[in-house]
Amino acid sequence: MEKILKKFKTIEPKEEFKRRSLAIILNTPQNEYQPKPFEYLGSFFNLQKIMGLTAVATLLIISGLSFLNNKLIGPSLVSNLNQQDLNKEMESFNIQFSQIKYYDDSAKRIEVALMKTSGESVTKEQNEEINQILDELTL
């Protein structure tokens, strides 16, 4: 079939038609080229340029964000914030530790004092000690 179809290439227009048609065509003036609206705009913003501009814009956005990031929440600021937080936390730990220690000591001393007062005679020194403990507790 393909071979048969190739034989159609022998079909040609008549010589008379060729001459007549060409003569008429060449005696017709050519049209002046009028660009379509936005044609120049379209050719200016071709695909390559669009891609290039997009790449530049992306780069600018990324570098801008990176700059702002360094400026506003940069490493020095972050480290400062962290240091402050840590100091605050350390202070609260210290307070908690001192309270625990205080309550622990007090409990032991009260226990000793009560044991002494319950059965045994209290010496002057012991009495002073009890008073001291009670003072500390009431303060």
Partner: protein, 188 residues
């Protein structure tokens, strides 16, 4: 695109008639054949072919080389001209025998006469195909244009052109076998 052709196009764009004559002489047969297969009648084919080259000459300044061959531009004009022809004249494809003057094969030899009849039968069968199939078959199998050029002229991808070619050829063979088995080709 050949450098020589590029030069002729540039000159024709500046109004050089000789340069356009050379382009005309080179592309006329192919464009004529394409139109001839689409309309079948010699007079109609001639009229439309004339319109195509007239339009090409008048709009030469508007042609811009964008990596597409000049022939693709001409085929685009031809395709639109054929569409306009059917739109305005409201005609259907006429199945008629090819004019003997077109097929330049001497008819006194019985073997060649048979071949000629075979060609005429195929031509009738092509006319039954969809316009899209006709376009691809004419451009690819008769004019032997590369797929890329056909794709440009028809505004399709190369893959689509290959697919259409395959389907068109299959349908052409099927219709051709139907006619050779005694069935008449229905007029479109």
């Amino acid at each position: 695109m050949l450098e020589q052709e590029k030069k002729f196009i540039n000159q024709a764009q500046k109004g050089n008639k000789e340069a356009f004559s050379l382009l005309y002489g080179h592309y006329l047969p192919a464009i004529y054949r394409y139109i001839f297969f689409k309309v079948s009648k010699q007079e109609e084919a001639e009229d439309i072919t004339h319109e195509v080259f007239l339009s090409a000459w008048q709009n030469m300044k508007g042609y811009k080389y964008k990596g597409l061959p000049f022939s693709s531009w001409l085929y685009q004009i031809a395709r639109n001209a054929v569409i306009d022809f059917y739109r305005t004249s409201k005609k259907t494809v006429q199945i008629e025998m090819a004019n003997e003057e077109f097929i330049k094969i001497p008819s006194h030899d019985p073997e060649i006469l048979n071949a000629k009849m075979e060609l005429e039968k195929i031509k009738r069968t092509i006319a039954l195909l969809k316009p899209e199939y006709q376009n691809v078959l004419i451009m690819r199998l008769i004019e032997e244009l590369p797929h890329s050029e056909i794709a440009t002229a028809l505004g399709k991808s190369e893959g689509a052109v290959r697919l259409i070619q395959h389907r068109a050829l299959k349908e052409l063979k099927s219709l051709y076998n139907e006619t050779t088995n005694g069935k008449d080709i229905k007029e479109v």
